[in-house]
Symmetry: C2
Subunit: 427 residues, 2 copies
Amino acid sequence: MTDSTVLLTDHYELTMLQAALRSGAAHRRSVFELFPRRLPEGRRYGVVAGVGRALDAIEAFRFDDAALAALEDVVDGPTLEWLASYRFSGDVWGYAEGEAYFPYSPLLIVESTFAEAVLLETLLLSIYNHDSAVASAASRMTLAAGDRPCIEMGSRRTHEEAAVAAARAAYVAGFAASSNLAARQRYGVPTTGTSAHSFTLLHDTEADAFRAQVASLGAGTTLLVDTYDVAEAVRVAVEVAGPELGAVRLDSGDLAALATAVRAQLDSLGATSTRIIVTSDLDEHAIAALAAAPVDGYGVGTELVTGSGHPTCGFVYKLVARADDAGEMVSVAKRSVDKASVGGRKYALRRRSSGGVAEAEVIGIGHRPDDDGDDRSLLVPLVESGEVVGREPLDDARERHAASRSELPIAVQQMSRGEPAIPTVHE
Amino acid sequence: MTDSTVLLTDHYELTMLQAALRSGAAHRRSVFELFPRRLPEGRRYGVVAGVGRALDAIEAFRFDDAALAALEDVVDGPTLEWLASYRFSGDVWGYAEGEAYFPYSPLLIVESTFAEAVLLETLLLSIYNHDSAVASAASRMTLAAGDRPCIEMGSRRTHEEAAVAAARAAYVAGFAASSNLAARQRYGVPTTGTSAHSFTLLHDTEADAFRAQVASLGAGTTLLVDTYDVAEAVRVAVEVAGPELGAVRLDSGDLAALATAVRAQLDSLGATSTRIIVTSDLDEHAIAALAAAPVDGYGVGTELVTGSGHPTCGFVYKLVARADDAGEMVSVAKRSVDKASVGGRKYALRRRSSGGVAEAEVIGIGHRPDDDGDDRSLLVPLVESGEVVGREPLDDARERHAASRSELPIAVQQMSRGEPAIPTVHE
């Protein structure tokens, strides 16, 4: 086994490397681009996430003895030898984490030799495709929730490591907290928790369970009130915890009607500051539908970690330019039906009105598009000559997302399906 | 950081533990059950996967110093002390890996103290929900493909660690191979690969690229023929590799029509044994639709790793019985609207006709259902007194899946939506 990231890749990356080392083309200077051909159907914008994780992964991309041993039956001796000294020495530019994206946004530009850059393909795509899918869904949820906090609690519905990345991506896109303790440890994502039905069922009575929870976690805790009868549970909850009870959680039934009834009951019991947290297969539409209900927070699980119907972004990683024999860079593009790509090194900016509203995603091919002064350049340096330079605190990405989303046209606020919020223009 | 699996969990598992340790209820003997309330809409059966990974995770579930340090702000001192010596000492029974499942199949029965068993909830659900979602989709694909091999190549469309688990789950459900090298290293899943469009674009001409690939990987390799013009590429491919060319890959366009044309062209060039591999957003329906086309293998990516529309299984982990003060086991169940559970320790068998065809999923509550001689008991011991006893070679799970699927009623062969293939009966 190895802790390095090099085997989190496709077999063909290695055999292509072998063939290119033999043909000599492996050392040609190359530019790869990671980009989306489209947004998920009906979505107005996407959100870039996973940048920080990708930088960690590039740094850890070294072939240790265990990895080389695992590749002995995959590639030949000269290739293994080349891999043993592998170290990415190229440059990477990209959209900063949290940024909104649109069709053909050049999210990553990787420039190096073909050999060095092709090996990163699968891993970069895995990270970007997953994390951005979660962040894109999360952003719509926090938009629908407005000032009410969203709490990520989907760990159990996705792969255990994907869960950690999902918690991180949700935080970037405005979630207030997560249930995932590894995300807390690794990325400093705030965590929070209530309790499960099993805790209530474990005790002889609901009152015993509430007493146990309050005794240990204080009156500020959140009590789960739908194991048996909600009205009775709310009564007991306030009796046990007093009117300082932090919150109650509703996890089933007609949440809008229940929240209204529970709010009235809590108020009548003097627990006017006790909050109501709802959970139960929420997505951005359910959150929006609860806007008028007296709800104080949303716990979101399944639909968040599965990208609310779009669990992957469909990003691709394509060779767009490479040197010829004379060392001159040549644009390249495949012509496959429905999958054609646009050759050439890309630059990108977000065109904005003088009022700061986004108007277009402008992509320059081979040159930087003109900035009229109100625009915002989108590609930032992430890796320079193999050194990671784009690391930043996760809260910076979170703030960037809020800013990036707030400059999108008002149409974005709609949950209805539609075209991308701004057009993509190639210049 | 820690390599242990203990932080891949929800905050509330730990705070519930703390409260239950304080109330004393933590030490009550408890039975948790992991089960699905339903199949994904329209699906006829599901496939259990992740069992082997879950056993690894239980074994690694120890709170080392790094994990305990990370929990210092989450739980109190007595709880940290208890965690430091945590070791699962209970028993686990479950459906063996690869087995088909139906609504309410008791996939895992975890019996221990509440404290020991509740801590495993999130991690077990993550593994089972993810891996079984992939295996359930994969099984429909291999069913649709019949004797033609399916190759898993979706790593880039999902989280990088989920990709490894997906490759493993797909193999259990009959996929012949994967592209994922970590799955090869960790689980012995066979890997295979062709090449990407970037490899063709890297070289000055398509012929140069094909020559480079054949020189390095031999004529038995698979050449990608849709970068520019398919007919021209096929001509050049056979010219370069000779009629011994292993295979060509089509990754775009109307695959049925293209495959037919390419088959004719290959045959006319004498390359009668050259195989045709198709890829390009295939799912079980696309595979079925290609049954009449001259296709020799399917490469499946996105739709496999995202569970073909159902990226998670929705399994839950519920307390179904626990001891009372006298040490007597008591069945428990919540009454939440739409989410009621069935209390009591479960047993399960697959009722079969004398001809060996599955007729019902029979679940006994508190007792083993009667076996009429043709039936098959479904729960096997996985962990006994904390020791893992259910480990097996991955190929055993793969063979079990083939056998389990083959005994399902013929209706399962249909890709159309429908009810579960057999009813679930509580006895």
